[in-house]
Amino acid sequence: MMVLELDRVRRTRGVGPHAVEALRDVSLAVGGGEFVLLEGPSGAGKTTLLAVAAGLLRPTSGDVCLAGRRLPAMSLGECRRHRATRVGFVFQRSNLLPRLTVGENVVLMAVLGGMAREAAKRETTRMLEALGIATLADRYPHELSGGEEQRAAVARALVHGPAIVLADEPTGSLDGVSGRAVAESLGSLAAERGAAVLVATHDVRLRSFASRRVRIVDGRIADSEPDLG
């Protein structure tokens, strides 16, 4: 079953002579449990594609279907609620909220995703244990290493049981060992939960985790191929 479908999506920034087409007739489908790498040079449209997929940007034309619902047909409020429950994010920097502990960061996402507070706490504990960072639950983000922070971000992305995790350069600021550990955790936990993963990246080391690679150049899908590992 497809959790994300983009159908001939165009996205234009600016108007008139300054208009830039960030996405041109992009069509892409990602199924549950898939780990898809979105590769391409800087400025190719990877992040724009992730934002359109999450409903953070509306396509200028074309259609986006996320977890069974058409985003362009939704109001902004509906889109926000749908995103909170069905999408998980991992950003290039962990973007954990610095005034909250690791545990609170994850609980907050679970609650935003619709869980009751107690269930959110239980699921947070389970998720942090699965990622091997349960002992860090009461630490603040600035007390963590880069790799620990990204694993906490992975916990936040998956705690509410999303249909898809959208990750933007999740290993971009990590060394090889940490990056590999984060990618491995993200891939295995998402697969366990049947969540799809769409990763925008330059990091070729992630190819070994991908079930498919999609290359985007100048806002167009240049080619798509199953990863050979």
Binding site: A51, R83, Q92, N95, L97, R99, S173
Partner: protein, 375 residues
């Protein structure tokens, strides 16, 4: 969830307490001015409204103790005493005198201009409303000084001072007689007469009613008998004096209160603005994750109101401490706080907090969740 969002967007403790301290100082400024005004007002009321005086008789056209230069004949109280319903009538001489410390009578020494009240000591009406230490004047060389005046002069009980060049001994210290700019001095009629050259005159006459006689009725009787004099029941005379004090203080007090409020509002606005700017990335992340913009707005406004309220409470607490400290260390500055003043400041500052949050909240609504993707 709301609690977690509030925590996520809260300011750092050091910044919070520094700003709350700044707001507290603004609140303290407003409170101190109000308390000083109230203290002066209550000192005047304590004297002119003291028990034992039911009616004030003044020269025609004079309606307050503070600003008058007309006089009554010294024998007027004897005439008043013959009126039915008058239990006692006593003269009061009010004059401004210069008091010097005996230890250093040179021009460079301590010197104060005080309001001298001469009365028929020790039992006549119009004496000190409250004695903090010592006793009321008896002999012609005895005086009772306001406690703050004694502090300013550097004298205490038993010390000799010079009142318009005449020696007098401080035998009593009075309370509730500090008008901030000047203080009261109490002495025998003859002492003040001699020091001021007002022999044979009185500034006011104070009248005590016989039991069962209403002051208002007695006022009517005295007015009928002496139509060219001004006669007031005690409460009216108190109100006249309070109005006279307020006339000098209120415009300045209002101006400083408004400035203090503006300063506090700008402080709150600056902090909340800084919270929004500093937390811009976090707000973008929260919006991207699916947090409701209204919940974020609520958290920002709550932070602003909390800050303003904490600041106002700090200011009020500091005001109470300051009052106690000043009372012991520098009684020259009297402060009379009221809980209602603190409550009013709290409400106004909380409202200012909401107002101050308006601009940051408007900026918050313009934050793009896509900022969360920026490296």
């Amino acid at each position: 969830m709301a609690a977690l969002i509030r925590k996520a967007l809260s300011s750092r403790p050091a910044r919070f307490w520094l700003t709350a301290g700044g707001i507290g100082v603004a609140a303290l400024l407003v409170l101190v001015l109000g308390a000083a005004y109230r203290s002066v007002s209550s000192s005047v009321a304590a004297y002119v409204g003291q028990p034992g005086i039911d009616v004030w008789v003044a020269p025609g056209g004079v309606d307050n103790l503070m600003r008058s230069s007309a006089f009554l004949p010294a024998h007027l109280p004897e005439s008043l005493a013959t009126i039915r319903g008058v239990a006692a009538a006593d003269p009061i001489v009010r004059a401004y005198v210069t008091v010097r410390d005996e230890a250093d009578p040179s021009p460079a020494g301590h010197r104060l201009a005080l309001i001298a009240i001469g009365y028929a000591a020790p039992t006549g009406g119009g004496g000190p409303p409250a004695l903090v230490r010592g006793r009321a004047p008896l002999d012609s060389t005895d005086i009772a000084l306001d406690r703050a005046a004694a502090t300013r002069l550097g004298v205490t009980l038993g010390d000799t001072v010079w009142v318009n060049g005449r020696a007098a001994v401080v035998l009593g210290l009075t309370g509730g007689t500090n008008l901030l700019a000047t203080q009261f001095l109490f002495a025998n009629l003859s002492t003040v007469d001699g020091a001021s050259g007002l022999r044979g005159r009185a500034s006011f006459a104070v009248v005590r009613c016989t039991p069962g006689v209403q002051p208002a009725a007695l006022v009517g009787t005295i007015r009928a008998r002496f139509p060219r004099l001004s006669v007031y029941p005690r409460e009216e005379f108190v109100a006249n004096n309070a109005r006279e004090v307020a006339a000098g203080f209120i415009p300045l007090l209002t101006l400083v209160a408004v400035l203090g409020l503006l300063a506090a509002t700008v402080l709150v606005a600056l902090l909340v603005h800084a919270v929004v700017e500093e937390r811009r990335e976090d707000l973008a992340v929260l919006l991207a994750l699916g947090a409701d913009a209204r919940a974020l707005t609520g958290a920002v406004i709550r932070e602003a109101v909390t800050l303003a309220a904490v600041g106002a409470m700090l200011g009020s607490a500091a005001g109470l401490v300051l009052r106690v400290v000043l009372d012991h260390v520098l009684p020259v500055i009297p402060l009379a706080f009221r809980v209602t003043d603190a409550a009013r400041i709290l409400l106004v500052f909380a409202a200012a907090g909401i107002g101050a949050a308006a601009i940051p909240v408007a900026r918050l609504r313009r934050i793009d969740p896509l900022e969360a993707f920026r490296p």
